[in-house]
Structures are given as structure tokens and as C-alpha cells.
Symmetry: C2
Subunit: 310 residues, 2 copies
């Protein structure tokens, strides 16, 4: 077994329009780079090789907490040095905390002879998400572990995640530099939903699931529409309606809010379209005088993976 592994752990989209709290999609890039090295002394040390001033106390770092959860399931008393280089900007709405938590547990599992299943790794990594957002949720964790398109069918009584294939897709994401607190984006959600609207939403959930499984791009596009969460969050994200209009005009299949925002994602059939859509998304925020970053990359068929061992 190696003493040190290097893991790439990808950005992910959660919710995917109609599938609030359920759907996830892995990107191939950007990703966090995690180096985990076995050491003699028990416990965990964390070093961040990035400019984001994230906590390095294991009990307050999402990757640290996930790793501690995994270590609790291990009989040996082990020690690890964890080195994190974030390629995903924190707060960007593309699963930054999930990527770090997943990278840490995937790395540890490799150092332990892969004794845990992917489902168990999801469970450990969710502890990290709980620290980041106050709730144990798996909608970014699942695609970061399994890759492709994921459905969190149930958290209780048993964690039930479906790992499904995704057709070739290119994702354009714009991250406007506006702060949307997760607590605010939760607060605006309606407590109850009219039954008729819930039916329209789950009709789209069925359509999106079938669209991914049959590689039907048109079906994916028309099924992304979110009648419940996006209307509630629209006021938090200036430029969203314009961004969608311009992205569709530039050839996007469809899209929506990435996670709880403020990022906006658009799915595309080709890299060329995705680049044009990324530029169209950016133009909206340039005109609004809001700084932004644009990511363009293919959907990732694998989740976090070991790229080097020593």
C-alpha cells in the first residue's frame, strides 16, 4: 500500500434545475488537488496551498471533518498529513466543500487498501458538508464520488444513491462575485408548494432522468425547468433571467442556478457552444459591473480519483 496519494476531486453541480436536493452532476474540471500522506504520529495535520484562508483545524475544516469521520470507522490509530490545493473557489456554488471532503476520504481509502465502499465514503464526506452548510446532504458529494449523473433517492432510513451515466455534455458556469449566504438561499424557499406545481416539477424530474439515460438532449433541455426553487431565489441573483436568455440564444440546451447559487450553469452539446455560452453568461455580469469567473468543461464520467501514488 502506498504511503502517499494524490487525488483530483471535481467540481459538481447540484439540483440541476428541477431536481432540488436530489440531482447532481460531476464536472471534469475544475478540481481540488488533495495530497494525503501517512505519518507515524496519530491525528491529522492540514495545510492549504491556496489563497483562501480556510481553517486548518481538522474539526473546522470540511476535509478534516470528513477524514475524522472515516478514521472513527477504522480500528487502527492512524495519522495523516493532508495538503489541499483548492482549484475550486469556495462559495462558487459548484460543490467546493464537497470536493475537498470527498478528496480527503477517497485519498484515505486508497491508503487503507480501499476497504470502504463508495456509499460509505459518501457517508463520511457528508459529515464535512454538515460543517460547511449545517446540514448533512449528499447532492454534491454523490457526483463527486461516483461521477456522471447522480440521484440521491433517500438519505433515511438507508442512504440510497443512484449513479447513472450522463451523455457527453459540456458545462458552462458563471460565478458572479456576489455573496449569497446559504442560510439566505434556504430562507427564501417556500415551506409548502401547491400540489399542481409539485406535479409539474416531478414531471420534469422524470423527463430529466429519462433524458440523461437515453442521451436525449432536447428532452434534457426542456426538462431542466424549475418551477419551485428558482422563482424563489431569482431575486438573490441579479442577471439570472438575462443570463439564461443569452445562453439559450448562444446555443445552450438549458440550465439554471448551480446549487444554492450565485453561480449559474448551462449545459451544452459541444465545447464550442459551451465556450460561446460561457462568454454570453459573462457578458451579463460585465454589463452589471459585477466581477465574475467563467468555467467551461466537460461532464466528468468519473468522480474523485487517485492520480499518483508513492
Amino acid at each position: 500500500m502506498p504511503d502517499s496519494v494524490l487525488v483530483h476531486s471535481p467540481a459538481t453541480l447540484s439540483n440541476l434545475g428541477c431536481g432540488f436536493d436530489v440531482f447532481g452532476l460531476a464536472l471534469a474540471a475544475p478540481y481540488d488537488t488533495i495530497r494525503l500522506t501517512r505519518r507515524a504520529a496519530p491525528g491529522i495535520s492540514i495545510r492549504h496551498l491556496d489563497p483562501y484562508n480556510l481553517p486548518t483545524d481538522p474539526a473546522r475544516n470540511v476535509a478534516g471533518v470528513a477524514l475524522l469521520a472515516l478514521l472513527q470507522a477504522v480500528p487502527e490509530e492512524l495519522g495523516f498529513d493532508l495538503e489541499i490545493t483548492k482549484g475550486i473557489k469556495p462559495g462558487s456554488g459548484v460543490g467546493s466543500s464537497a470536493a475537498s471532503a470527498v478528496g480527503a476520504v477517497v485519498a484515505a481509502n486508497a491508503l487503507l487498501g480501499n476497504r470502504f465502499s463508495k456509499m460509505e465514503l459518501v457517508d463520511f464526506a457528508m459529515e464535512g458538508e454538515a460543517v460547511a452548510s449545517g446540514a448533512r446532504h449528499a447532492d454534491n458529494i454523490a457526483p463527486a464520488i461516483f461521477g456522471g449523473f447522480t440521484v440521491v433517492r433517500a438519505l433515511e432510513p438507508t442512504l440510497d444513491i443512484l449513479a447513472l451515466p450522463a451523455p457527453a455534455l459540456w458545462v458552462a458556469v458563471v460565478h458572479p462575485q456576489i455573496e449569497v449566504k446559504t442560510s439566505d438561499s434556504r430562507k427564501v424557499l417556500p415551506a409548502t408548494v401547491p400540489l399542481g406545481l409539485a406535479v409539474r416539477q416531478w414531471a420534469n424530474v422524470a423527463g430529466l432522468t429519462a433524458g440523461f439515460l437515453t442521451a436525449d438532449y432536447d428532452l434534457i433541455g426542456r426538462s431542466l425547468a424549475d418551477y419551485i426553487v428558482e422563482p424563489a431565489r431569482l431575486p438573490l441573483i441579479p442577471g439570472l433571467a438575462d443570463a439564461r436568455r443569452r445562453a439559450l440564444a448562444a446555443g445552450a440546451i438549458g440550465g439554471g442556478i448551480s446549487g444554492s447559487g450565485p453561480s449559474i450553469f448551462m449545459l451544452n452539446k459541444t465545447e464550442e457552444t459551451a465556450q460561446a455560452v460561457g462568454a454570453a453568461l459573462g457578458s451579463v455580469f460585465a454589463e452589471l459591473g459585477i466581477e465574475f469567473n467563467v468555467y467551461v468543461g466537460p461532464v466528468g464520467t468519473e468522480g474523485a480519483r487517485v492520480v499518483a501514488e508513492e
Copy 2:
């Protein structure tokens, strides 16, 4: 072109647990038998060769209304004699009215050289459903037309129906002879749904869609659960909880209320299990002193079809 056609139009399950107003599944049997014959005089005559005393005025008969809707889309002035033999008992909750409406328009389309698409036939047949239940809905019409597993993704602005394959499955249905008015079964529905419950429901909708598309019987079974409609309708259908318990004990994958009830359906992997499950379902109503019928049959891969031409 033939002057007379004979069509078999199958029973269907709508809702399918979690997919209220969206999912449908075609059975291979029972079915209504429709004979449609061209005649010289314009207009429609209807004759029922069954004991159910259904209206024979075309404007009040579901098949007549569907046929009239189709004839409005035809430039010629045509006349038809429509002969209906109901194999599906009216009010049994397995799409009796949809079967008759669909049979009539499929037969007429055959006599007209199949000039209409299946989606157009759905549209005509929905006029019949509107007479039967007061609402234009397609959740039984769609599987009766397309066969297999169907998703009514949208009725507006454009009718959007997904016709998906279903894996080999045997259905057991019990029809207890209690009257549940469609208006009552609508009245008990909640106007609004807690968001968290809606999320659990659409997680199952995704699971059931994926289960059908990947022929994953376990996934189908655990995804059928309906958190919203079944709890509201439970008081209308005595024996439902016991029926489910006994059916699962007898080997059923899962099931629920068929349409708006009072019938209960259970999905099964084999005919043998379906027969045992049908007997288990019946035993509950026998003990309650409620008369019942049991149907057992395979899922139908085709919808209504012409079986003879003259």
C-alpha cells in the same frame, strides 16, 4: 383502406405510486374491443355489447366524444358505426374510459389511412376523458396509446409525452366493489405539500424512471412509495394497508392505488408471483366482506392495436 376494423384497447395503470398525474403503464389485458365500421350516412352511432348501461349518445359517451374530436380534424364528412364491448369494468380504476376513447380513435385512424400521429390521437382521446372525469388528462390515455411506461411531462403549452420501455413485469390488480367517486378522491388531496415531502416524492419519481429504464426491479420497488396522494386517499380505501402488507409478503415488488382507486395494483417479476399476489389481495377483501375482482396480466408493450380489418 378497410371499411371495418377491430381494435383491442388495453387497461392501464395511472399514477404508479409516486408519479401522480404523470406516470402510466399499459397492461396486456383486460382490454376493450372496439369495432368501427364506415357507413354512408354522416354521424356516429354507438352500440354497447356489454352489460354496463353506458350512454350511447355520442356526445355523452367517452368513445363517441373522442371520435367526434377526431372527426372535427378531418375535412371529409364521414359516418361511423361504433360497437364497443367493454372487457374493462367501468369505475375499476384501471383506465376503463381511456381504453374506450383510445380504441375509438385508433380504429378511426386505421380507417383513415393512419393520417394522425399517436400524439394527435392522445389529444382526441383526452376529450373523451374530459367527459368522463371533468378534466383533460392523459395519464391513462398515454399508455393506452403508446404501450409500456409513459410520462406525461407536460400538457401545456405543448403536449409532451415520453413513451419509454418497461421491463417484463406482471401486474396484479384487485378491484374491490366499493364506490369511490373521482370527485371525492380529488377532494381529499392536499392543496399544498410541504417542500421536504415534495422533494422525497420527486426523488422517488427519478428512482422509478431510472428503475424502468434500467430494468432494476429492486429500484422500482423501493421507488413506488407515494408520500403525498396515497396517505390522503387511504381512508377512502379500506384494506389498502393490509393489502400491501400481504402482497409484499407474497413476493410483490411494490404497488399502490391504481389511478384514483378503489383498485390496488402490485407489480411482480413473474406470473407465478402475480397470481399469488392477486390471491393475497383478494383475501383481504374477502375477509372484509367486500366483493372484488382480481386481474392478473403482463405489462403491455404495445398500446391499442388493430387486430382485424375487413
